[in-house]
Symmetry: C2
Subunit: 336 residues, 2 copies
């Protein structure tokens, strides 16, 4: 059976009323969120689930991975299971997932009797559901979840609001990313009306830095070099740096922002040695440089302001190659 | 002449309509903001001034200090003067100032013929104006300025909105501080409706870090020590550190947050040598420790979660003394 009823029109006229109708009628609902879960997918399924429970439904929460430490404070987070629901679940709702693979599922694993609902804000969504509500204007699925719960006629209570606020805050970068809109702030105001301590949420989310990460930052800063009259900042991390700081590879994430935010910097690079002669480069730009193009030259890619690539050469050569490429692009300037 | 008509009742029933009335009638208005200006005081006076100009008034902007580099992008920022207005100005509006001293003025410098309007959100405001609109519930004067402009009947345009958004974002710590309310987000939504690129504002505000600050962070991280089973993190900066990084004293501001946000940390301290045997301590706590009490023991003070003190002893002794005091307080625990 082919599950997906692909309907690109859904993108403009999402079948919100039909989704509400399916949820109203369903006695049981299973909620799915993606691998390597984040605040948006976890917060959104928990809030929607709590709302459905207030309607008297039996709710099942699924994620293939454990809930990250800094999201365990979320109300009902302990109820998220890493076991798939049994086949008695007839309504499967996927949140923040572009396709089944994001949940480590194959389409064949979905019972043909179940109804698949797809709630997402990624422009790359594959419309894999029976009903697809995809809104790339939303900064987070949390925005769609607020609207969904309102339309279900359920009052948003404090526990739901904490989950929804976390979803929105994490995916909008504390309202700083350009995906943040007037609507983001209006919905957030509605959540804050329920009365919770937002500073405690921010503490739970962001003040959980491992000491090893700070030691890794220290190593990175020791390697800082500035090129192109201050427009390019470069840091490197060797295998030895990871070893002596006791940091896992993923703790290097975000370190590049410490140099991206230097005055006058247009491009920032963090090069890390992940194996012998295997260098991963993280490239960032601020206002105009297309780092996606530069990463592509080295077999990588990404977005205009954030991209990555892997080079199978020694660190010193990798640094030279990427630095040269960016220096040249900076010299050619933005009108090129 | 005693200028101030102190009226504590104003705090609950601010004379907003009277202020509107004075502004409507005034042909000229001078707007004042405080020394060491920040995004809130600069953004608020600029937005109010632009609104008053749309009403056909002559507007004068004053600040005793130059506009900081990262606020020069604000529309009309170049018009802020460091010269006092002449005596023909009859309506003087002070924004974000607890008293005249915040503008480096003595009450005697204010012409007795002028009307003084006082718009502020500090609970410590001295009600020094003829009319005082003081609202400590507002996270920023920018919130009051939005309401003021709306009440003046002026449509908030893009240039005003950029100023007001900056005022709110900077004083609410990007909506993360506990002073942020549902109303903060509602007013922000109204500003975003005018359509401006918020990511560029954030870049202008926050991506202007001097290289010397990063070098200073590097020195501070080199000194990091952890006590009390991970609950206390301590960094020190010597005069030599400032010298070799080329950083001015004020660039150490905020560095303590790098260790306050470590997982498990309740208290974080940055001790800096500002002169021979002169150590300034910045104390922060996360959830329960009253660092104000600890700073007070060393002749300092501040707030429960952020305080400071100065010790006139060598660094090694200062570190020992403060570390001991905090370790003891942590041992006694929150129920003490």
């Amino acid at each position: 059976m082919i599950r997906a009823r692909k309907n690109p029109m859904n993108n403009e006229n999402p079948p919100v009323d039909e989704i509400i109708e399916v949820l109203r009628k369903a006695p049981k609902v299973a909620l799915f969120s993606h691998v390597s879960p984040d605040g948006d997918c976890i917060g959104s399924i928990l809030a929607i689930g709590l709302a459905l429970e207030k309607m008297g439904k039996e709710v099942f929460f699924y994620n293939p991975d454990p809930v990250p430490d800094n999201l365990r404070f979320l109300p009902a987070a302990s109820r998220i299971s890493q076991e798939l629901p049994d086949s008695s679940q007839q309504t499967w709702m996927f949140v923040d997932c572009t396709d089944f693979q994001r949940v480590n599922l194959a389409a064949s694993q979905i019972s043909s009797e179940s109804t698949v609902l797809n709630l997402d804000h990624h422009i790359s969504n594959q419309f894999f559901g029976d009903l697809n509500w995809v809104d790339p204007q939303a900064c987070a699925c949390g925005e769609l979840a607020v609207t969904l719960i309102n339309k279900l006629g359920i009052e948003i209570e404090r526990d739901m609001a904490i989950n929804l606020y976390t979803a929105i805050v994490t995916d909008s970068g504390c309202f700083q990313y350009s995906n943040t809109t007037a609507q983001t702030h209006r919905l957030t105001a509605e959540l804050l009306d329920t009365g919770f301590d937002l500073s405690r949420i921010h503490h739970n989310l962001y003040d959980q830095k491992p000491l090893a990460q700070l030691k890794l930052l220290q190593c990175a800063l020791d390697s800082l070099e500035i090129y192109a009259e201050g427009q390019l900042a470069v840091m490197t991390l060797s295998l030895e740096d990871f070893q002596k700081s006791g940091a896992a590879q993923e703790l290097s994430e975000g370190l590049v922002n410490h140099i991206r935010s230097l005055a006058g910097v247009e491009a920032a690079i963090l090069l890390k040695e992940v194996g012998p002669q295997e260098i991963k480069g993280g490239l960032r730009s601020n206002l105009w440089l297309n780092v996606n193009e530069i990463a592509a030259r080295f077999g990588g890619g990404g977005h205009q302001r954030a991209a990555g690539c892997t080079l199978r050469i020694p660190m010193v050569e990798a640094k030279q190659a990427i630095t040269n490429a960016i220096e040249e692009a900076l010299r050619l300037g933005r009108d090129h």
